[in-house]
Structures are given as structure tokens and as C-alpha cells.
Subunit: 470 residues, 2 copies
Amino acid sequence: MSLFDENPVVINLGVDVFADELRDQGVDVLTVDWRPPAGGDNHLLPLLELLEERAGAQTDKANKECLKRIGESTAVLVDVRRAGDVVPGLDDYTVYHAGAPLAWEEMCGPMRGAAIGAILFEGWAATAAEAASLAANGRIRFDSAHNHRALGPMSGIITRSMAVQVIRNDVHSLDTYVTLHMGLGKVLRHGAYDQEVQNKLRWMNGEFAALLGRAARAAGGIDIKGIISQALHMGDDCHNRNKAGNALLLNALAPHVVSAGSNTEAIRAITFINQGGHFILNPVMAACKGMLDAGANIPGSTIVTAIARNGVTTAIRVSGAGDTWFRAPAPMINGVYFPGFGPEDANPDMGDSAITETAGLGSMVMAGAPAVVQFIGGDAAFARETTHRMYEITQGEHPAFSLPALDFRGSPFGIDARKVIRTGITPVINTGIACKRAGVGQVGAGITEAPMECFVKALTHLAAFKEESC
Amino acid sequence: MSLFDENPVVINLGVDVFADELRDQGVDVLTVDWRPPAGGDNHLLPLLELLEERAGAQTDKANKECLKRIGESTAVLVDVRRAGDVVPGLDDYTVYHAGAPLAWEEMCGPMRGAAIGAILFEGWAATAAEAASLAANGRIRFDSAHNHRALGPMSGIITRSMAVQVIRNDVHSLDTYVTLHMGLGKVLRHGAYDQEVQNKLRWMNGEFAALLGRAARAAGGIDIKGIISQALHMGDDCHNRNKAGNALLLNALAPHVVSAGSNTEAIRAITFINQGGHFILNPVMAACKGMLDAGANIPGSTIVTAIARNGVTTAIRVSGAGDTWFRAPAPMINGVYFPGFGPEDANPDMGDSAITETAGLGSMVMAGAPAVVQFIGGDAAFARETTHRMYEITQGEHPAFSLPALDFRGSPFGIDARKVIRTGITPVINTGIACKRAGVGQVGAGITEAPMECFVKALTHLAAFKEESC
């Protein structure tokens, strides 16, 4: 077929249904994958016009400053402390959780299970029923961990007697906090709370946390940002695949763990960090938050500084709108299920771990982590395409995180809400699938996206302020 | 341009000079990268005809058996022992070295330096001059380590008081031996032999080796083949890039090192294994040899079972010719030099580490290890192309070593000398560049090839036997 043949040729832009009908009638059709900006939405186009044209230069300047601050940030594991002593506002009868704030009545099964587990661990109740009743009667204060410089994977539950790793961003004098990763199987973050879980919580937050704190201090801090940079050259996406990062962290910690504890304690600690395989995920999450928070609150910036899911809603923050959450119903995950489980067991998307994608990791770097498809589905071509697609909605390339498979190009960095709206491409999130029933644990892993609705709300909010000042 | 246009089109096969001339004359030229089989050599074509046609089925069957034996082999680090107690024939006044056998008079600078260092370490001489004189006077028996189930990187020097790691191939009841990797900088394998080197040799082959042996035994062995499989999913080529494999080895060893030694010894050992970054290379090399030796001595097989370089010649073995070495002058390395060094400092290709390429690692898996180009030169496209080119000269895909970037395709496995001759493609080797002056150490890294002459000699040898039996 040629455009200069005698037969008529129709060039079809966008929606394929027309092309299919024409083909049925024997007409040659060239299909071009084109979508109108902002989906042709009459509400959004003026907002884009404002933020890209009229206030474009100003927005670009704000975004540049935002990326500079995030990019220059450091992230060092400097200590392990009792959460109540360092995490702001984490008092008695207070429970922080993943995602945007929500009430006990709204919470999904695994988050309720994890909250019950934490209440039992704190000794605020003696039985699960009593714990649930405390929560239902308003005796427990719930809030988003993200609102208090902390975060966590899955339910992300933190209470005061838990140990948190302290990740320091020296450049911007910011500390962020995250609990210790509990390993796989029956774990609090998936809502398990029985005696076995309680025993593990006691060891982890007691002997193990104390040893880890001594080791981190003796090491003079462990450079988590440096480990991320190296792990990206070793096939990790630093979200669902953490094999390299975890090994590097343990290599760095091991001599200090040995010098800081008895042989028995050291062996227990080394074995625990090695076995779970994802111990590094938690400090990486806090590292990402610490870097992104440095870029928050820059007036006019459309860069996304957080994506977080509480199992009911997915919420985002954009730099120019500070701590405001822009929410939409949490999507389900298109995934690969463990044997014996299926979509009917799945909870909607949950956890603060999408902070990794927000910081230029996870789905953003799949091109360099092709082995992650074994876990979340897809193939090597899909992994490459995902990274290339993410470059379309990001503002820059990360100065410290690079991809050897793309000739050391920096990872897609700084999701720009304007670009998400204009292209219709939403950020991909690689994630685990939690069982919707408390305590069962992970039932699979897969791929989902941050809903467009979050970005529409964020842009509307930013444009309203901008319109006033224009 | 189309083949059906009215203008004449010339299709040019092979040599580009014709195409260039025609193009100058305004003729359309399609260039096809085609080379005559065996370079059109009148001597080689009948050999290929014999081994591919008349005795083809028989050769294919032998090669299939060879690959089966190599592929099913295991490789477990089971112990660390005094070389003199386990390596066959390693008596007093005996020095084993890398590559095919060669006399003291023929040896290059760094290999002589390393031999002197070993003689001093053994106490057979008190000064370097005395050691050199012993060697020159025929008082030292030199032989190829490969001839005695051992091998080593660079000069590959082994003497009886050195410790060797014992790698066991359970399936074929084969033990292979390799010294302990000494780290970077001033090291014996590059021909350094001063007091600092002697002190390090004493600690490594004393306290450290004893602790490592206790740890390996306590662990019930460390699965080196399993670590290789994982490291290939983590960006290692398992020859020049060993970051992941080294970290995984240390993770597996650490708890046993802690339980087998004092805190001080354990910290020294863990720090040493971590710092060098390539400690795993030596057990990987012995693992490769142990697997490949299982495929040796299969009558009629044209599969390459060793590539080894002594700094003067590169030599190969093919399964059907048993222990016979087929040699050619060792090529120089096309490389990237460390600051302050250049090609004038370089020794020709040296060391037994090309056993990794022979076993389906190193250059064979560059497509999955794009970060290695930082070290040896090239870019990501070159890395992918190299792996694809190596599939053209290999007989199969490795059953245990796979590449996520190629959708988990098995690595190019089993170099077939027939295919090397037919295609004119020689095996690529990723390697370090040794300074030609003893004791200076590594001056760069790069890429070279096993010379075609080795394969021509091997095929001629095999065809002679085959011709008799046909």
C-alpha cells in the first residue's frame, strides 16, 4: 500500500473502531496512535493551557527547583530508634497507617488486622475483639504516617513501641522514619496478628532493632542512596525486586553487626536480613520520601511528591499543593497470583511503596530490571516499553539513578502532573497484591496505575491558585 | 529503492570494497554481510565437510552427550585445603601456572614475578634473585595447573603451601581447585612479590583460609552454580563483573564465618571478601572447569572444554581431543586503560579466566550485564550484539544460566569448533589487562578473542582421527 496509489486511503487518528469498520468495507486504513491532549476534555484543556502556556515559564522554573532539591538529596540510614521517641505525634493510643488518612470504619480487612495487631503489641487491649472495639469506639487516633514524616509498605501500621529506621537527608536536614521489614509469610503489614506474629514483633523490635541501631551507628551510617544506585546496575527495580540492594545492605552492615552483638545475636540478625530478601525495601522507601519531601511545597510546581494507597483510595501529592492529598478509588492490580489464589481474593492497591515510583524507581526502571517480570508478569519488551513510556510523563532524568541497559541514561524522574494529563499516560506501579482478608498475606504481584482522577484534581487545585495570581 | 525498479541493482555479498566502488559509480548496492564458509580455505573446507556431513551425525551425537554432561554438572564449594594435600602432583619445588605448559625462559614478566613470589612464600629461596636462579637452573618443575584439575586468574600460580578452594561436581565425582582471590592492587597473580604481598599471602593462606574452610564445611557447602544462576539475573557476567555474585557468596558465608571464628577473625574475613569485590571469581572459575571437565574426552566431540592463556600463547582444548592443547600466539587486548597506562604497558592476554566464556559466561552473557561496559569498554548495543554473535558459534543454550533481558533464554553454551571455523567468528573474551612488567598489576580491561589458529589446529587434529575411522 502506498499513499500515492489510486485506491482511497483513510488515515485514522486514534479510536480504532472507525478503522475496523472501514477495513471491513475493504478500505485501506493507516492507523496512527494519536490521542487528543487531556483526552479532549473541555474542563482540562484550559487548565493545561494555563499551566503550560500562560504560567508555563513560572511552572517550569518551580519544577526545575523541585527536581534540583530532590536530586541533590542524600539518604543515609543513621540509626534505629523507638518510634514513639522520634516520629512526631506518635503517642499512646495512636496508630499511623499507609496512604491518605481514613477512619476505622472505612479501612479494608488487612489494614484493620494490622491495626489490631499493633494495639495488641502495645498492650492497649488483651484480645483482638477488645482491640477492634477500642478502634470502633473512637479510642484510637488514626492518621496517615505520611503526614508525620513516616511511611510503610502495605498497611504501613506504626505505633510507638515499634522500632523505626532513621533515614537522614543531610542536604535538606530532613529525617524520615520506617519500621523494620518483617519478611515474608504471616506478617503484620498484611494484617496477621496472632501469637506467632506478636513473638516476631517482640524480637524484631527488641534485640534485633537494638543491634541494628548499634551497627548503623558504628558504621557511621549506611548510604542507602548509594546502594540504590548500585542495585539499579544489578537488576533491581528497588520496589519488588530487591535482591541486589538487600545483599549490598547486608554486606555493608555485617562487620558492624558482628562487632556490635554476641555471635548468636549477629547470626540471627544476618540470617534474618538475608532470608526475607526485601529488608532493604523499607529504608529505600524512607529514602525516597526523604528526597521527595525536600522537593515539596514549592509554589507552582506540578511535580508529584508522593503516591500512596490506603487500600481504599490512591492519593497523590504535588509539590505546589504541599500536604494536600488528591484521591481516587484505589484500583485493582493486574497480576500474577500465587497458587491457590485469584482475583476474588485480592484487596485493591495498598501501601506507601509507590513512593519508589514517585522517586524514579520501581516501574520507572523496569528496563534495567527485566527479571522482575517473573514476579509481576510481562516480558522483557514490556519492561523496556514501560520505562520508555514513563519518560513521557517525567520532567527529567535522575542524576544519581541510571540504567546500564539504556547506556546509563538517568531513570525517569519527576512525574509532572501536566504531562500525565496531556498524554493520558498514568504512572505505572509495580506492586504486591494483598489478600483482602486480614492476616492471609500476599497472594500475588502485578501492575497497576495511579488513577487519572488524582492528577485531574491536583491540576484543578493548582490552576485555581494560579488563575488568582495571573 | 526496490528490487523491481528499472535501475540496475547489485547485491554485494561480503567484501565491502566492491560495494563502495559501485556506489561511487551511482549504482544501487544492497550489501549482505556474508562470508564464505571457513573463509573459503581449501584446507579447511574438506575438514568441515567431513565433520559436518560425512561424520556429522556421529559428531552431533558426541556433542550432545558432551553438553548433557556439562549442563547436568553441579559446583559446590565444599572445603578449603592446603594445595599440596589435594592438588595432584603439587610437590616441593613444583609451580603450577595458568594456560598451557611453558618453560621459565618463555614466561612473560608478570608470570615470572608471581613464580618468584611463590618460591619466596614457600621458603625455597631467600631472595628474588635466588628464586629466579633456581627457576633458571631447572630446579623448579613448572606445569599447567589445568593439567592437574586446578586453575587460576592471570598468572595462575599455585604452590603447595597455598590454600585452595575445593569445588565439587557431585554428578560426575570431580573435584577442582583454585587459590583464594587476593583482591585488587599489588597482588601475586600480577607478579608482585614484595614483603607486603608475602604478609598478605601468609594471612590469607593461614587464618583466613582456615576460617573459610570451617565456614564452608559448617554451611554444608556453598552452591556456586546456584549463585552464578542468580548473579546472571543481577547484571554480572561472572568474569569481569562479579558484584552480585560476590555479595551473594558473602551473604551465604557470613553466618557460618561468624560461628566458625572469633569476632575479630570474622570481621577481618567479611571485610576482605567484601572489599575486593571479585572474591567469587576464583570459585566460579573452578566451578566452570569442574563442569567442563565432565564433558571432556568424548570421542568425536568438537565442543571446546577449555580456553586458557599463559601470557605467551592462547590454547584451547576440545572434548574429542582430551587433554591436548591447541595453541596460537596470545593476542593483545582492545581495552580501556587505567589513568597513567596505555597499550605500551600491556601484556598479551593472560590467565585461565576464559574458562568462564568456555562455560557460557563472560562475553557470552554480556547482553544481561550491560554495566560491564563501564569496565571493558563498549556500549549496551555492543553487549547485546556480542551475546547474539556468540549464539552463532555455540551448540546449545545453557539449561541453568539464563538471561532475563532475552526473556530468560539460556546463555550461549558449548562452543563448537566447527561453527567457529564455518562462521569465522571466534569466541570473545572479556578480560583484565596485566602490566607486562612484574608486580605493577592490572592496567586496564577490555576485549579480545581466542585466535582462529587454535580452532583450525583442533579441527585438523579431530578430522585426522575421524578420517582414519571413516
